[in-house]
Amino acid sequence: MSFFRSKPGLVAYVTCGDPDLATSRAVILSAIDAGADLIELGVPFSDPVADGPVIQRASERALKNGTSLEDVLSLAEGIRNSRPLTNLIVFSYLNPLIRYGLPKFVTRAKDAGVDGVLAVDLIVEEADEYRALMEKSRLAPVFLAAPTSTDARLKKVAAASRGFIYAVARTGVTGAKTDVRGDAQQLVKRIKKFSKLPVAVGFGISNADDFRQVGKYADAAVIGSAIVKIIEEKSANGASPEVPAAAVGDFIRSVKRAS
């Protein structure tokens, strides 16, 4: 099973529980109906060191209403039941997973219909137990590859990853502007030397033009902060979940149309 049905695939990231779980659900369903191939379900964390201000604010909003990992998995289950074909990845910092208990998390995630997990601050060398558990439950462990990764490291990332490899488009946090013709293209080329897995490029992919460019050399592109920003703007002043959901759907359709 390939994670990406279209070429290039579109991956949509949503911080779950921002500003509430009902909005997340509506937004994700709308993103899927607009053509997203894969949804990254962001687990909010108190100390998101890899994230820029947009996702930091989203995490704060989600935590303010008490969103937990359990809530994210329940959300995943609901989406899986409504849209059986779309791939779902849990995107989290490691600590909430450890606190929940890795064996319990892996079992519960599988039961909820999740396809894979990306732990942002877990490198391959620290992931023995995690990988063994994922393997056993047939969940895909997705690892990050960075422009600064040496070839030796890319080899390890390639060997440990399942489903796809997430190429970080540039050094830095999520959300800042990326020159998609720079580091990212080089990195994808280097990853392809070591792996046959599809490569998704993320960090700073914010519009149709970026998406089209990335699509020329990668299998998929991840849009995160740009979607989270729409949710932030459209759900302000207590708007109903349908408002941000419709806006995100329109945005994804416009990105896909242009590619």
């Binding site: 935590l63 490691l94 450890i98 601050d121 490198i123 600064t148 990332v157």
Partner: protein, 398 residues
Amino acid sequence: MAKSAKQKNIPGRFGAYGGRYVPETLMAALEELEAAYTKAKKDKKFQRELAALLANFAGRPTSLFFAQRLTQKLGGAKIYLKREDLLHTGAHKINNALGQALLARRMGKKRIIAETGAGQHGVATATVCALFGLECVVYMGAEDMRRQELNVFRMRLLGAEVRGVESGSRTLKDAINEAMRDWVTNVRSTYYLLGSALGAHPYPTMVRDFHRVIGREARAQILKAEGKLPNAVIACVGGGSNAIGIFHEFIRDKKVRLIGVEAGGRSLSLGDHAARFSGGSPGVLQGTYSYLLQNESGQVATTHSISAGLDYPSIGPEHAALHDSGRAEYVNASDKETLAALALLSRTEGIIPALESAHAVAEAIKRAPKMKKREIIIINISGRGDKDMGILQENIRA
């Protein structure tokens, strides 16, 4: 996380604790740093250069001072003070800042970033950057900038740029988050001069090594003064750099009790303190696996301490291992006990300790009267209290 026995001998692991939990983007930089440090550690020229700077710039060795009037007043064990407060810039932090700045220079890095809580590490970093002509950016929580205003001015006077951090509880933890975001962005040109025995490998080991000089001196000094080892060594523990620095030389002396003092804050309910061993549990924060104050969902708890330098939800991983093995004990002192201890040391010995170090004094005050007169305590006075005058004016009627 991975707790298998075979991991015990992996560099960067202390028992089950430590490791490297960072985004992949930082891994090449951590590997480069580890290689450079391993090489420098064995390089006699590096060590000579560092020793000369510690002696001539920082003012080492620091004295081990017999606190006669405090000893009499408490009526028990003899109390000695390891005077790290006498160092240039006012705290032990300069030991590590000099070591890492020398390393950064060898690695050809021209831009230095650092985080700071109380401002002591920030001042030490700004100082060494001025000394070596390096660009310096210090991240500091907005709350800490308010309560350690004098140190903010000192850093700026030394030519550093101080960037206030408004996220989270606006204290040390949030400053580290922001420094990590800077590092992940500018990793190719920037050296992250981390200020405590925290973070991803090799930081906990490297920072400890640069502070081991404290324990080496103290051990030799007490043997010279008393002809025997102390019964207890007491140090405050935020991230734990001064404590691991003085403890390390005594670890193999099994009869020497090693006592770390955490911030007991206002109370021991979550959010009111920074006592990781009273209410914390193992978890991952900012690159390392250690004890962590967190809620049931794995979100990091807010902390409180009257001393900005101890106001942090996690603790250096080597302390976590020393705690679990029982080789060191960890207690806490409340804000109130700390203020009383600071006042007492000031008036009996003419030494105003930093609020951080006053936590260690508070523990000695509890312990010394119960000990025999021939027994000995060493307290690590990790810094001086000049920076705390603002807070002290609000809290003590002098």
